[in-house]
Symmetry: D2
Subunit: 259 residues, 4 copies
């Protein structure tokens, strides 16, 4: 049976899958490849730093090239300058002007540095990149990133690697209302329902890594995420029933609830 959901378009490129998957922290490479396949993801993100450092760049890229749209990222960069240089390196090495922009502000929590992020985003957009920035769930920062010319905004649902889910759905909802570019929740998803919730909020996609890589069975979780994202998107498009305190309540739930 067909699932006629609306496809996602970023910077003129159209994707059927709304799941973006990372390539770090899998038990081994074969599990990673199997999980990528089970996920149905078209876009996979790879840390340039990691690739360079362990000297397995060619190997990993050879494996993924052709089968996936590779989105290099600047994980591990702590300044705009580092991030810009890393993006330029990635463009040269991989022949893509797409970049997932991360500028980390704290090496413990991995929250972004908003000032450095905005500066790097500006430089990279000016240099012709398609910039997808990992950012706080801050509507003002997201609007600035959009104004700079980023192709999407990628607010975190919770800290990277926390598996805490969407901690503040209200902020995500405000971002969704205020931005015209695609909104992709990046970081925080821990299990399938988290991904579904992101999509039900109207987000355009979800980028995740640890939730799959660190599940007991990554391949099975990859398939769970694929279905959850499709389910959440369908539910969003279908238009959910209203909430009520109970069915025969004369007014909608929300007018009467105090919690």
């Amino acid at each position: 049976m067909q699932t006629p959901t609306v496809p996602l378009t970023i910077a003129g490129k159209t994707f059927r899958s709304r799941l973006f998957l990372g390539t770090a922290r899998y038990p081994n490479q074969q599990v990673m490849l199997d999980a990528l396949e089970a996920s149905g993801a078209e876009v996979v993100t790879v840390a340039m730093r990691r690739v360079s450092l362990d000297g397995q760049a060619e190997n990993l890229f050879d494996l993924l090239r052709g089968r996936y749209h590779i989105l290099p990222n600047t994980a591990g960069c702590y300044t705009a300058r580092d991030a810009v240089l890393t993006a330029q390196l990635a463009r040269e090495a991989l022949g893509t002007n797409w970049i997932k922009l991360e500028v980390i502000g704290d090496d413990e929590t991995l929250f972004p540095d908003v000032e450095q992020l905005l500066q790097a985003a500006q430089e990279l957009v000016d240099d012709g990149f398609v910039v997808l920035p990992y950012c706080n769930d801050d509507p003002v920062t997201c609007k600035k990133l959009e104004a700079i010319g980023c192709a999407a905004v990628m607010p975190l649902g919770a800290p990277i690697g926390s598996g805490m889910g969407i901690r503040n759905p209200y902020n995500i909802q405000i971002i969704r209302e205020q931005c015209q570019v695609p909104v992709i929740v990046d970081a925080g998803v821990g299990t399938a329902s988290d991904a579904a919730i992101a999509m039900e909020l109207g987000c355009d996609g979800v980028l995740l890594n640890s939730a799959v890589a660190q599940a007991r069975d990554p391949v099975k979780m990859a398939r769970a995420m694929r279905l959850a994202i499709e389910a959440g998107r369908l539910a969003y498009e279908a238009g959910r029933m209203p909430r009520r305190l109970y069915a025969s309540a004369s007014s909608p739930l929300e007018g009467r609830i105090q919690l």
Copy 2:
């Protein structure tokens, strides 16, 4: 690609789908039939009272028979006696000894009457029925229903028709720990992620109706539910990553969080 999840067995009968769907409150009969098909449900539940009252019994049963496992229910019954009689009527009319047992204690909120429910469950089990009781999210009641011989327990996630989701996942988790029979969340699911959460808690299935029937696009929501339940089940089987306050936290989240 295959999805090798464990099948669900109730009273010796095995189902591939873990979604049980109701047949009330759809915009019209064709939408209902399309939604049932899109949902992948094998078991559909029909209110005997409603069928009898509107005189469309033959019509509806003719439509569903052969394509679905029909599970008659005792919706609208307020006493054990009424519920038992309705179940017996259903058995005669439909040739099935399966019954979804509802004994309502309050016509406003549609919460069950625990005393009448337990009495009716005992009588029906004694009379050879396969009893699937709609009940509170109360572990003691669920254990009693299991001891009586019910084939499953079906605690509510929230009031019937409320769309509020799983209001108290802790109780559902305790029920899951303490019962050996299948646990099927019945009532309260409002959107896809609610159904995924029920499955991630380890429940064996979800029974829902309004979330599909009252969505703006019931057929699309039916497919969302199908995928969400499969996603939630896969995530449960896959074993989710642990939660942490942030990734580099040395201890798991829970030991440090005060909320």
Copy 3:
């Protein structure tokens, strides 16, 4: 400064404090006495079983008599018969016809047994007791207890000794709407804000024990609870501001939120 909140009346007796405190599990007796005083509680509850078993009945009652309204409870009773006998024993020993009725259905989780509870409540009301029953957060059970003639209903916020807070505020809200007798949240409160939330929901009082007795500093926590309950009650009476997604949102929050 005066705090002109409405006083609480149960069975014709009026209390200024809306906090009911238990006497179990304190580090020692002096801490218990200090905590009781710091809490401002007028009603303290004592387990008849515990008192009898450890032979310290006279001691404890001598300590509390005159200073507090002693509310004996039937903790540790698993049948209506046991609970009724224990209540009668308490009446004889303590000269009070007030009883906090507990009939436990599961010795692991300490959830009540609804059937036995209702039976015991009926017998005790018939026998002239002022019955305050510990029960599930089930509106139908609460309405039955009220119909039987109980002087109040005492739904649990979470399992006894769990410290989980009000797990399902929606059920408490429905109970508050449907019952005329005082609603006292019993069990589950873990910290001050939990007690405030119970009062903001419109409850008439809170009964707690472990949250004070098992705090690192029980006396300080006792005072925290005293203030939290007064704060929550005042907030309820003051009438809180409406919630909005943000201040300038043209419609109230609830019409726009999907979570």
Copy 4:
């Protein structure tokens, strides 16, 4: 009875009350004065813009001076330059170098502009101000503000005027862990329990306005807030009991919960 909680010290000045109250949006001036008194607040914040615009500066300051520590704020400023000028104007007019720094990034949601905020904070600290900045619940921004030399950080609990409570307690907890200066939750509190929760998280104070000014009875709500903040602080100092799924659970709650 005494309440021996630890006092709050900011920039060398010690306060007994941990509640900071705003002066906007009250039904009338008398209600404002009565609410301030009932709240027990020592610090009240006044918008310089509003004061200047409506020409009632002298009146309002004459009313408050001597009775309260007046904390002028830069509400309504959208750039670092505007905020700095407004702070300087306040210093001259009121003879205080304390400033609550707000730099708004969006006039609909009133979220701060992080870049402008950091710039203004730096300029004002350099100019000798005691700066208390309203900011996002972003740990990196808070650490930067601390590094600049701000006397406290004031992360929002939810959007200004929303009454939504602490939407992301996890971020507040991380900020509390990572900052040495006082952490004061500013914005979002809607009712008494929200304020108590902020304090239970270990925050040093709460600044609020609409929750009191827009309650049905502002004076009563002011007293509720006073008690709630004291309750929350006491509970924090007392050390709450651990949470468990149920009391006899052998392991703490969190290791077993899936939600």
